[in-house]
């Protein structure tokens, strides 16, 4: 029965531990699933939002550019508003110098009026003899040299409207040119610095991480919101992702890219490293993970608390069962089986053979108490004996009830007292006798309750509880003979008497 109780106890404790572990695991698992789903949902929502925003931004940039270029073309078209302007040819030999100067002054004034608020680098009509009328910058003069007319003429690539856009002339990507044929001997040139496109490609705040680039069909960057990119080949990481498309929005772990082609084989490319553009997403992920972790930890702590609350009564029952299995139900000290087991275990572990003592007690006149005062009183006496033993002996000592009114103490003797252990044993026995005397003398004059005590010493008198018990019992017998209420320490002569008897 006791063995069964011990095994149940262990099992219940194991179950308790497993229950807690399972519970915490379930909470963490559940939290992980919730956070994964939340992150996934947020991730998708944010990605969709960012893609839509970037796509709209690209669309807007492309419209801005178209509108800007259209405005330039309209200004160019206005040159044709006056016949004198578009019909004049500076290479016509029939022109007199005076008329030429007058007409060119008129053309210059006209052009001046058209571009007065524009930040053009060049705005002029260039004739086939390289003579410009209007504004041609020193930079342009230097760059084109004697090929001013022919190289500008070569930039016309739209036959229908006899005009064209161009950049990268002699690897100079700082200027963009618009050229339109005015007549057989003349072309109009409008040029401006690419940084004028800053206004065109200015995008709203909050999406600073997006780089806006205007790219030629050959992959050369005409304009970039990031400085120093003009004239360079578009980053291969980006160009690989948009290869073969004219309009696309793509996103992977590295980049978010949108592409939209506009006229003249130019494309607006908006790009951003996914890490940066989805920073908000990463922040949300970190937030969700932290919140989930905190929640999981709190939930686990709460759960452990609740479980321990719920389990406390069970623990009590288990402890009680355990006590019942090991202790004497009446006195609360060890029962015979447990006492014997513990003493034997202690002896086995006592490899140094330190002195120990088995003190055996038998109540004097207990039968008379039972007969006269009843069993209930007798039980009270036994409980009292248990109390005395607990009071007199240290917790290191084992105290047990071997049955009826027979009690036993397994006395540990400290290292200090090993040298004169007999004295120590005697002191303890005297203390015990005195405790009996104090407890039961005067309380009930009818019966003075005392104990006869026999003591055996390990290893002098035996190497097991059984051997020691036998010797202690002989000594107890001797105490009874001496008139009770005394103690006797076993000696070899007692064994001889037994054998003699």
């Amino acid at each position: 029965m006791n063995r069964k109780n011990v095994s149940t106890d262990v099992r219940i404790r194991w179950l308790k531990r497993m229950m807690l572990i399972s519970e915490v695991s379930v909470i963490f698992l559940l939290s992980a699933v919730i956070s994964f789903l939340t992150i996934k949902k947020t991730d998708t929502a944010l990605k969709t939002k960012v893609i839509a925003m970037t796509s709209a931004l690209n669309e807007q940039m492309q419209m801005n550019l178209d509108s800007y270029l259209q405005r330039m073309e309209t200004i160019g078209t206005l040159v044709f508003a006056e016949e004198e302007v578009y019909k004049y040819s500076a290479v016509d030999s029939s022109n007199s110098d005076y008329e030429a100067i007058k007409t060119e002054q008129l053309i210059e004034d006209k052009l001046y009026d058209l571009c007065i608020m524009e930040n053009f680098v060049d705005f002029a009509i260039v004739y086939s003899n390289n003579h410009p009328v209007g504004k041609v910058s020193n930079g342009t003069v230097k760059l084109f040299g004697d090929n001013l007319y022919s190289d500008l003429e070569a930039m016309i690539n739209r036959p229908k409207t006899a005009d064209g856009w161009s950049t990268g002339y002699k690897e100079n990507y700082k200027r963009i040119y618009y050229v339109k044929r005015v007549n057989d001997d003349a072309v109009l040139v409008i040029s401006f610095y690419t940084n004028e496109l800053d206004d065109v490609f200015e995008h709203p705040g909050g999406i600073d991480d997006i780089a806006v680039q205007l790219v030629e069909a050959n992959g050369i960057v005409i304009y970039s919101s990031e400085s120093g990119q003009e004239g360079k080949v578009l980053d291969s990481e980006i160009s690989e992702r948009i290869k073969g498309h004219t309009a696309v929005t793509t996103m992977d772990n590295k980049y978010l890219i949108t592409l939209k082609e506009c006229g003249d084989n130019w494309s607006v490319v908006c790009s951003a490293p996914a890490k940066k553009i989805l920073k908000e997403k990463n922040d949300v992920t970190v937030f969700v993970v932290i919140v989930t972790l905190i929640t999981a930890v709190l939930a686990s702590a709460l759960s452990v608390l609740l479980v321990s609350k719920i389990i406390r009564p069970v623990n009590k029952i288990v402890d009680s069962l355990s006590d019942e299995a090991h202790n004497d139900l009446l006195t609360g000290i060890l029962n015979k089986k447990t006492f014997e087991k513990k003493v034997d275990e202690s002896i086995k572990q006592n490899i140094d053979f330190k002195k120990k003592a088995v003190i055996l007690l038998d109540l004097d006149n207990f039968k008379g108490v039972n007969d006269t005062l009843g069993h209930a009183y007798g039980d009270k006496v036994l409980v009292g004996v248990g109390d005395i033993l607990r009071r007199v002996f240290h917790t290191d000592d084992y105290t047990g009830r071997l049955g009826g009114d027979e009690f036993c103490v397994y006395l540990n003797i400290s290292d200090l007292c090993q040298g004169n252990y007999i004295n120590h044993i005697e002191e303890k026995c005297e203390e015990l006798c005195k405790a009996f005397a104090n407890n039961y003398t005067g309380d009930n004059d009818n019966y003075k309750i005392s104990a006869s005590i026999g003591v055996a010493v390990f290893p002098d008198n035996g190497n097991s509880f059984g051997e020691l018990y036998k010797c202690a019992d002989k000594a107890l017998y001797s105490s009874k003979h001496k008139g009770k209420d005394t103690y006797t320490i076993y000696n070899e002569s007692m064994s001889d008497k037994e054998e003699t008897k």
Binding site: D97, I101, Q105, Y112, V121, K135, S137, K142
Partner: protein, 362 residues
Amino acid sequence: MFESLHPDIKVKCHYSEWSGYQTRNDVRMVSHTESDVMQINYAWLKQYSDDGEGYYDINQLSEYVDLSDFTEEDLAYGMQNGKLNAIPIALNTMTVYINKTIYDQYGLDVPKTWDDFFHAAEVMNGEHYPISMSKKSAWFFLVSYVGQMTGKNLMDDEGNITFGEKEVTMMIETYCELINKKVMPQVEYFDKLKIVDGSYAGVLAWLSDAENYCGETIENGYEMTIADYTTVNGELNSWYAKPATMYAIRKDVENPREAALLLDYLLNSHEMAGFQKLEKGVPLSASARNYLEENDMLNGIQYDAFIKMQESKDKLEIISPYFENDTMIDAFIDSCNEVLYGKSDETEQGKILLRNLTAIPE
């Protein structure tokens, strides 16, 4: 660069070609769309801020703009009615750049007088023009000539024309003579490339344009030198100087501190000095000038032109703010052309020109 030094300030730049800049500036000033910090011409101070209220009083921002880098005299150029409306970047004057290599080929000395130019034209015999210039330079050149010849000024401080019919007629006559005797090409045909290739043996241009006009010519192996300011008889007068472009702040600027920090950066910072070098002339800011000196950047044709100006500083007259009116200059060249092409004579055109000049509003 400025933005990296002041990350909290964002600057939006507007490129603007100088030709037509005044008209654009006019439109912006009248329509209240001018920039917070702007480059202005000395002439516009009177036009837009006669009472000192047209631009911000930079004295109020001396906490951010280090005015101690400028002398009182320099700052006086930007004072209007007791308010510091603008700060000059550098001083500027019309400068005579001579291709000494060409002149040497003809055994000619560097010209000092108008007669020297006429003489050079005779010697060069149409193979080279001894001098060349744009429309505006021609205006200055002729005003100086007539001023020296007559002792009169073109206009008074208020912009009223003080030249009479005789003086403007002399301007037209002299211009036509310069053209007819091949001293210089017609301003309409002035071509910068012909300075570079040596076809023009000289050019009259702003000091601040020295590198622009002479840099490449020097690269082509020609020796360019700074001639004395041209005089009739060696006596220098009627030659004008002015502050090169100035910086001003919009009168009702929303962020005066930020505008002032940018202004200080443009005028005084080492970064800007190193970046701009002598492009706008030798800076008046002591801080910028010291930086250029310490880094051996005060050299070249632009610096030579600056030294020439410094040598004659006391004799140069400060230009009237009304002097550079494009309409006046156009009217002058129109009259010259009428005479040059035999459509009219000097006397008639003198009357017409005077009428046109006096009719032009300030």
